[in-house]
């Protein structure tokens, strides 16, 4: 191993307070099994349906620190694994978030994995199969993952671009959990709790969500996500008039198309 100094990697913290998460199906039990069995997990689902929140909750539940990396198309291997920095006259090695997570036995969450460049994605391959090792090429080091370490990636299959599809060799390393918007009564509970509105308002917001989801593929790429409904709820809780809140937080957030905007306004007006 090289004799350069090891910079103090940012200390990984446990999640203190229990994040609010409303289980939808059996995903909590499945995730726990996967963790016990040291299997990596792929979360699939439309935007804003609670994937990130779920991982935060599981990290808390399993009492593991959580390292989240939002992937983008300039993300290099070094950004994940680590690099040398020059400090004063010395070169100092700094672990990237993935390496730090492996060393600490944390949960590493790579959000929107398809956004990452294909060559970057490959570094997780040996980590995501039976070997469970991370190669830190620059240091000539192989870091073996402790049992507690877990790799979680997320992916939104609704993407339309042919350039953004997850490779089978990546995808087939993961246990896949399907996420979708929960059924109306459950979703209303989430909106009420998160957005701090009364049950009736939450119910109507979820109804609006449902109406917009009926338009998926018929003018909208996606219907309103739980996240958007929570946003609208927040505005309402803050005193904004409900129809105005929905127009701003839901209708305008979904489309720029003037025809479609008219229809969404009609739907907002139908519910409130």
């Amino acid at each position: 191993m090289s004799d350069t100094r090891h910079a103090t990697a940012p200390k990984l913290q446990l999640t203190g307070k229990e994040p609010y998460y409303q289980p939808i199906r059996d995903e909590v039990a499945l995730f726990e099994s996967a963790h016990r069995r040291r299997l990596p997990v792929l979360l699939k689902g439309p935007t804003g349906c609670g994937k990130t929140r779920f991982v935060e909750y599981m990290a808390w539940r399993l009492k593991r620190p959580l390292v989240t990396v939002a992937c983008h198309d300039d993300l290099t291997t070094a950004d994940l694994v680590g690099r040398y920095l020059i400090i004063g006259n010395e070169t100092v090695w700094v672990d990237g978030p993935l390496t730090a997570a492996v060393r600490a036995g944390a949960i590493c969450y790579l959000d929107e994995i398809v956004e990452a460049r294909k060559d970057t994605t490959v570094v997780i391959h040996p980590l995501a199969d039976a070997r469970r090792i991370l190669a830190v090429d620059k240091r000539g080091e192989l870091v073996a993952a402790p049992d507690d370490f877990m790799l979680v990636v997320s992916y939104n299959p609704g993407y339309q671009s042919v350039l953004k599809e997850i490779k089978p060799s990546t995808r087939q390393r993961f246990v896949a959990l399907d996420f979708d918007y929960p059924k109306a009564s459950v979703e209303a509970g989430i909106v009420a709790t998160e957005g701090q509105v009364d049950a009736e308002t939450a119910r109507r917001l979820v109804k609006l969500g449902e109406l917009t989801r009926n338009l998926k593929g018929a003018g909208l790429d996606e219907g309103a996500s739980t996240r958007l409904l929570v946003h609208a709820a927040h505005l309402i809780a803050d005193g904004v008039e409900p129809a105005t809140a929905c127009t701003a937080a839901v209708a305008r957030a979904l489309t720029d198309d003037p025809d479609m905007t008219g229809t969404l306004d009609d739907l907002v007006r139908a519910v409130f």
């Binding site: 090289s2 004799d3 350069t4 070094a78 690099r83 040398y84 920095l85 020059i86 010395e90 070169t91 090695w93 620059k138 339309q160 671009s161 042919v162 350039l163 059924k183 109306a184 009564s185 109507r204 109804k207 449902e210 109406l211 917009t212 009926n214 338009l215 593929g217 018929a218 003018g219 129809a243 025809d259 479609m260 008219g262 229809t263 009609d266 739907l267 907002v268 007006r269 139908a270 519910v271 409130f272």
Partner: protein, 691 residues
């Protein structure tokens, strides 16, 4: 703007667009009339004369002769509206009506002046249609009808509404009518397993009067039921209708509740029928055409039960292929969503069966046991008789040797028919050499906009690090080199960054439906969108090809090359775009297979197949129509996917949406409800797909 055209040139152009005129009248007189117009007006007239002549040559002739007068009184939009109104009349009522409408220029202009208070269905249709789709339930089509009513699959609304003082109010009236008709189909007006509406209403001797009362009572009940989930909508309806008439006061007290059911309306109906009164007119509520509903509904229930039963029969262990002991099927309809469970485990049905189950629930209020008996093998009724299909056409085309043969998927056999389809590449005779230039002239602004947007994409540069030379120092590389030097390793000399143009490595194939059903505006829209697309893709520099397809039975599947991959976008290609026309039938599977084959040979890393069509696969003889064609097309898309070709299907068919998820299962798709949007949308979709 270019110079205006003189009579001779005009005459020649008119001859081209009016070539089909049976009257053999000289275009000379028409041309003289158009000479006084400026060039933009002349082009506009020639364009619309051409469009009109495609429906009916006489209309084209009439448009040309009336155009100078019309343009004195109408602006560009008005002129277009006038021609469109004429064509609309032709589609609905035929040539005489169209000619009368076009000749009545005074009437048209007067109508346009007063138009500010009238709402027209064709203007509100798209928005209303999407509104109904948003409200959900079974998809409902929207159409103009003599009076407002629904047969439970189509909502009919009057073509114009002028009952209220302003156009905005009249548009709201449309929405209220549509919503109440939707509610009839959604909240049990037409009965359920428990309530037989047909029987209930045949009790009355004066059935017409009973139906009028029933419609009024249901308007009260449904408004209240809508209010439970959509309070904003019911409030809007209430505001539009004003106070209920005195004669309905008691009914409102009894039926105006969130939880009122159709049985309550029927009970109250008996009291109304016992009296002498006629029901008051309710301008916001439609009528009920019960006979239309009942026949449509019965057919649908039969169809949906069959679909569900077939799907159930394929569930493993449940009346299916491998019965593994007794399993129990449970149906949960809580929250209005049908969910099947087999021994406690959720059983997912294919989307069309799920939709059928949902539709049954809507029609019957439950899923009756007889719909849950899996269809035995006997229920599969292969209707096909070998060799019976299109024998006349077979004989006509037998002498040609196909360029290739393709397999076709027979879903009934669950096997391919080997070498079943005979594929011919047929050259298109060049069309109007100026077509593309003319379209470009009419759409200059749009094309500039598209070109700008796409050029922006192309300009996306990337910074390449760790190069031996380049315009900037790569700090990361420099630091690494310092690190290496410090640790005694040999430092790299690649210390620079270089900007490079992003290599897109993409090959796109556009497959254009040239079947007979595209005749008219759809074909025009297809051609125009190709003009936009070529502009867009040229700006990007991607490799692309365009092929048309049509055919007549399996032994004559024609593919028309418009632009091959290695051809530049030149005059020959432009002339071929102009030559794209509606021909015969739509055997889609073989076209997809052939074009996939061509795409596969491309060296690009990403391969994209974009189909433009107007809906269902269809071919001569009844074989490729319906299920068979859908399954084969689906299969072909799946094969393409397996070969690394990504498909995207653009369909112009608002009412076909129910089978599309099945058809395009392996592909992505979008449905346009309005052909006019095609050119814009296609360029947009392409951009979204490839960035």
């Amino acid at each position: 703007m270019s110079r205006k055209l003189f009579s001779d040139a005009l005459e020649q152009r008119l001859d081209e667009v009016l070539f089909a005129s049976p009257s053999h009248r000289s275009a000379k007189k028409l041309a003289d009339g158009l000479e006084q117009l400026d060039r933009a007006q002349q082009e506009r007239v020639l364009h619309w004369v051409g469009v009109a002549a495609q429906s009916y040559a006489e209309i084209g002739y009439l448009v040309a002769s009336l155009a100078p007068k019309a343009l004195e009184r109408l602006d560009a939009a008005g002129f277009e509206a006038w021609v469109l109104a004429g064509l609309d009349a032709y589609d609905r009522h035929g040539g005489q009506a169209a000619m009368a409408l076009l000749r009545d220029l005074d009437g048209f202009c007067a109508g346009r002046d007063h138009a500010d208070a009238t709402a027209r269905l064709d203007e509100s249709e798209a928005r209303l249609g999407r509104f109904l789709q948003g409200l959900s339930g079974r998809p409902l089509a929207l159409s103009a009808g003599a009076f407002a009513h629904t047969d439970s699959e189509t909502v009919f609304l009057p073509a114009q509404l002028a009952a209220l003082p302003s156009a905005a109010d009249n548009r709201r009236l449309y929405k209220a009518m549509a919503a109440l008709l939707w509610a009839q189909t959604r909240y049990g007006t037409f009965g359920s397993t428990a309530v037989d509406i047909g029987a209930a209403l045949s009790r009355w001797e004066d059935r017409e009067r009973a139906l009028r009362w029933f419609a009024a009572l249901e308007a009260i009940r449904l408004e209240a039921v809508i209010g439970a989930e959509l309070p904003g909508l019911s409030a809007e309806i209430a505001a539009l209708r004003g106070p209920w008439p005195e004669a309905l006061r008691e009914a409102v007290g009894r039926l105006g509740r969130h939880d009122a059911a159709v049985s309550h309306s029927l009970t109250f109906l008996a009291e109304c029928m016992a009296g002498e009164q006629e029901p008051p007119q309710l301008p916001h509520a439609g009528a009920i055409d019960l006979d239309a509903v009942l026949s449509v509904r019965a057919a649908r229930i039969a169809r949906d039960s069959e679909t569900v039963r077939r799907a159930l029969s394929t569930l493993k262990g449940f009346g299916g292929r491998q019965p593994s002991g007794e399993q129990t099927l449970a149906v949960n309809t809580e929250g209005g969503k049908v969910e099947f469970t087999l021994d406690g485990e959720v059983a997912a049905l294919p989307p069309e069966a799920q939709a059928a189950a949902q539709s049954l629930l809507q029609d019957l209020g439950e899923l009756p046991p007889e719909c849950l008996v899996p269809a035995g093998p006997g229920a599969w009724q292969p209707t096909h008789r070998e060799g019976s299909e299109g024998s006349v056409a077979d004989a006509l085309t037998r002498h040609r040797e196909p360029h290739r043969r393709y397999d076709e998927w027979d879903y009934r056999r669950r096997a391919y028919r080997r070498g079943w389809c005979h594929l011919f590449e047929v050259n298109l005779a060049p069309g109007d050499a100026d077509y593309v230039a003319k379209v470009s002239l009419r759409n200059t602004a749009l094309i500039n906009q598209i070109r700008r947007r796409f050029e922006m994409l192309r300009g996306e540069d990337r910074l390449l690090g760790r190069q031996p030379e380049g315009e900037e120092v790569d700090i990361d590389a420099l630091v690494d080199a310092a690190g290496d030097r410090a640790s005694g390793a040999e430092p790299s000399a690649r210390l620079f960054c270089r900007r490079i143009r992003n290599e897109r490595s993409l090959a796109a194939m556009f497959m254009v439906d040239m079947s007979g059903s595209t005749k008219g505006w759809v074909n025009d829209a297809e051609r125009e969108s190709l003009v936009m697309l070529c502009e867009a893709v040229e700006a990007l520099g991607d490799r692309y090809a365009i092929y048309g397809f049509s055919g007549w039975t399996r032994t004559r599947c024609d593919i028309y090359p418009v632009k091959r991959f290695d051809e530049p976008y030149d005059a020959a290609v432009r002339a071929r775009i102009a030559a794209i026309e509606a021909k015969d039938y739509t055997r889609m599977g073989v076209a997809i297979r052939h074009l996939t084959h061509l795409l596969e040979a491309q060296p690009a890393r990403h391969k994209l197949l974009v189909t433009l069509s107007d809906g269902r696969p269809d071919d001569f003889g009844d074989e490729y129509r319906g299920h068979y064609g859908i399954e084969d097309t689906r299969r072909a898309l799946q094969e393409a996917h397996e070969r690394g070709v990504r498909s995207y299907c653009v369909t112009i068919d608002r009412h076909g949406a129910d089978y599309l998820p099945r058809l395009y299962g392996p592909a992505r798709y979008t449905v346009l409800d309005d052909v006019k949007k095609l050119p814009l949308k296609v360029a947009d979709i392409y951009r979204r797909l490839t960035t």
